[in-house]
């Protein structure tokens, strides 16, 4: 097995186009499991851990540019205020060891429907920046996932960063697992309120072939808040609205039965999580006034 390691993004991109079958490796918490279990025998690994561009974040035009190689532990420590939804999700990933190694870029690269970064990135309306010898492109995260563990990455492309609006409104993330820590999600839900543009963002995890938004739920909620003048008044949220929101979230899911949970439970739990996270986010919004 060839082991390539790059010390700049330009090197990395060049190495990838020279070795089209090379598998990028960041924290390795997905790649090495597959290699060790002999599920994957890559001809070459491309080590990204020494590429400085991937391990930096900054704010540009009100957006956080998050390098793909930033591990969860840093998201939690450094970005809890700017990316609260993602930081909440990061807190639920694996164990301390996994949070030290595992990266948001790796989560996107793996594109598992159970990946915990996806729901908050969907809810926040993030964009994924991809780079190759051919240039750069930005893909809205809701268009990034193409199937179970598949994404839009071309073989010569790397994930450079994700771009996320620095927070303007409350965000929440909630995840079901069958134990109280270190568990792969059975179902997850993320919510972001965007009062500045009077919109709502959602993200569903582990309840469809890909992570996905619940668009009808978003539209319903934004519309009803608007119609009732609640964005401005910050009045109490009608209970029926929270319920209806939950129902629309469920309707967006297409889960399966598997050893981790039943489809019926996934739908049920999404309804509860949607209702609860909305209640918490709305209370935060009211308190912030």
């Amino acid at each position: 097995m060839v082991f390539l390691h790059a010390t700049s993004l330009a090197d990395a991109v060049a190495a990838l186009s020279a070795h089209p079958g090379a598998v990028p490796i960041a924290g390795g918490t997905d790649v090495m499991v597959e290699v060790n279990f002999d599920r994957r025998r890559p001809a070459a690994l491309l080590d990204l851990t020494r590429v400085p561009e991937l391990s930096r974040w900054w704010v540009e035009d009100g957006r956080v540019r998050l390098g793909a190689g930033i591990p969860y532990a840093r998201v939690i420590a450094e970005l809890g205020d700017r990316l609260p939804g993602l930081a909440m999700a990061a807190r639920t990933v694996g164990s301390p060891q996994i949070r030290n190694r595992g990266t948001v870029g790796g989560n996107l690269g793996a594109a598992s429907p159970a990946g915990d970064s996806h729901p908050p990135l969907l809810a926040a309306g993030a964009e994924v920046e991809l780079v190759s010898n051919r240039g750069r492109r930005r893909v809205p995260v809701c268009e990034f996932y193409t199937g179970v563990k598949r994404n839009v990455l071309a073989p010569d492309e790397l994930i450079e960063a994700v771009w996320v609006d620095s927070v303007a409104g409350p965000q929440q993330f909630s995840k079901i697992g069958t134990r109280n820590a270190m568990v792969i999600s059975v179902a997850a839900f993320a919510l972001a309120l965007h009062p500045e543009r009077q919109q709502v963002g959602t993200g569903i995890g582990s309840a469809a072939p890909t992570p996905r938004r619940a668009r009808e739920a978003e539209e319903l909620l934004a519309g009803e808040l608007d119609a009732a003048g609640l964005w401005e008044s910050r009045g109490p949220l009608p209970a029926t609205l929270a319920e209806e929101f939950g129902s629309r979230v469920c309707a967006a899911a297409a889960p399966i039965d598997d050893v981790r949970g039943s489809a019926a439970y996934r739908v049920h739990s999404l309804r509860v999580m949607a209702r609860r996270t909305l209640t918490w986010a709305w209370n935060d919004y009211r308190k912030a006034a």
Partner: protein, 801 residues
Amino acid sequence: MTSLMQAAETTSWNGIGTSARRPDGLLKVTGRFSYSSDLWVEGAVFAVTVRSPHAAARIVSVDVSRALALPGVRAVLTHEDVPGAKTYGMKLADQPVLAVDQVRYHGEPVALVAADDPQTARRAADLVHVEYAPYEPVTDPEAALLPGARPVLGSDNLVRHVKIRHGDLVAARELAEVVVSGDYEVGMQDQAFLGPESGLAIPSEDGGVELYVSSQWLHKDLEQLAPCLGLPPDKVRLTLAGVGGAFGGREDLSVQAHACMLALRLGRPVRMVYSREESFFGHVHRHPARMHFEHGATRDGKLVYVRARLLLDGGAYTSTSPVVIANACYFAAGAYEVPHAQIDGLAVYTNNPPCGAMRGFGAVQSAYGVESNLDRLARELAMDPLELRMRNAMRTGTVLPTGQEVDGPAPVRELLASLQERPLPAEATGERDLRTLPGGVANTTHGEGLRRGIGYAVGVKAIGYSGGVDDVSTACVTLEVAGGRPVVSVHTAAAECGQGVTTVQAQIAGTELGVTRVVVVPADTRVGDAGSASASRMTWMSSGAVQGACRLVARDVLARAARVSGRPATVLALVHDGVVDSLTGDRVCSIVDLLGDDRIEHVHEYHHRPTQGIDPETGQGDAHIAFAFAAHRAVVEVDVELGLVKVVELATAQDVGKAMNPLAVEGQIEGGSAQGLGLALMEELVVDDSGRLRNPSFTDYLIPTMLDVPPMPISLFELPHPDSPYGLNGVGEPPTLSSTPAIVNAVRAATGLDLPRAPVRPEHLTGTMPAGNRAATPAALPAVTPPPGTAPGGQPTRARH
């Protein structure tokens, strides 16, 4: 001893009853301890197992040519290469070393590949071409018993039917004013030890083999292994390598025969280390159970009778199923005084993964059934479940359903009372740390949907081997002078599985011989049998052996001291590396002076008191040497909307006879309680309708984490046992019995749901179990018949009140 093994040495005096540090503790927590998977010698090849992807199939052909052709591959073996007996087993030699003409479970070993390195071996394993003709697997244990069901093994699918008939059930049903019954199910639990099955086999010059392996019982391994290798037992020498947990899962053979036959064939050392996934196929599991319990009681809550039917799925081979089902039946009445009992236990063969020993050994399943039904009875009687338990608590003198009178301490009521007196954990108020809530940092509730519940359970189990087995444990103790100091060496075949038997052996030698420096040499088969690290027996049995051998050594030393000093040996005692006069306190001489270059060595074989087998028709007989008891109180918080559970506190009260090492005893209680928590809430190997294991990984077989295991306060009772060394009792298994039902009872109390099945899943709590997953299938109970030989109206109980 070879350079591969390290002796455990203690150099500061720690007698029994102290929390002596484990000699291997520092090595283990710093990652320097050598486990069986770490062993390596120059020239060793690595071997892997080719396993069946089917639960039931005929083997049409095996083609090893492509695997053999891979560079670096040294051998590919099939059943034809097994040098001796083709089958082995704990109770019946029915399990093929390598499958012969058919496979009976998913993961059954079919071939072996040895290569220069693990990668090559794994790749070659993929190239072994086995053609299977699959057939319909038998996967439902109830259906396996129906007439016409295909026999998995032998002539029908019944492993054993255990019958216990006690008292007069016809009369009892007349007496009972309240009757409750329920169906209960327990899923397949795994031992989930962290050290995978592994070992190193080295061919020896005499044509035999040396095997370094993690095991629970070296001599039983030897007994099963030597015939398969076609070697006399003295040519097969086993040494215990570092064991990374066992819990019953290392009683049956795993790598033993495979590594040895390859080493003999190749004339080279052979290493085997299962991967995590393979480990789930490499050992037996806890039997899944379907149970029906019926209790009859008077209105004021006195138990009159219990009727139970237990069905355990033994999987494809016998393993220890015949004794697991017996043990399940022995304790199906629980830790209570129940005058009349009719208990039927069936263990069956199916094409599911083989099941055998796991901590609690059948009594876990029956304790779950009986403790669940007791809560149901309490509800029916509108009585506090704890009060109901106290009212019926077993005591010394209670007659068991097997007719045996409980002797020795039986403080069931006292254990329960101590739990009752313990203050409850305070109800949380205000904003809460997410880690204290169901779901933890996954942020599923901020207090919504929460309900608290409290549950109690108590369990009883026999300690040591029951049913007429003459159990033995051997120790060899040597006293000599080395480096100017007296040193005691203790040599036994006792398996240190993490439970701390090595520490206790050193404590006993220190206590009996007053010597500071004690070396516990590696366990191997060069010394006599120590018996198994199972049945909560090892500390008891090995303590008896070590104590006995030490006392023979002490007798010799004191006789010498008497000769030298002219004082009678009866007033002399061994303390601080010397001999003192226990009347005057004078130091008489040092052991160094007394021994010079001599060494004093003695071997002692310890036996426990004799027991009887049970009558096959009535189950009557004095089958047990001793009983141990533990009780739990669980406090849980349930998010009833999401079906998530947080155990807030799990308190244990247990009688241990004598805490030989209180810290180690607490470790056993905490570990056993946590394992019971796992069974209550998450641990289950999922086997699908085709007999395939769906979750052989720690990604999907979940065991409790730090955030799942709550504070576990412990009340230790030390009521000396009359028949045991130092008055100790077995401690390892009892806490596993009552932990599970206490937690499930607490969840029932919080939710008002029946929850027949453990582990309780969020789906059970939220009514979202997929259709097709049946709840417990009601099992027909055999008709109530007066037991043969019982005079109508005869007085069945000799209980003292």
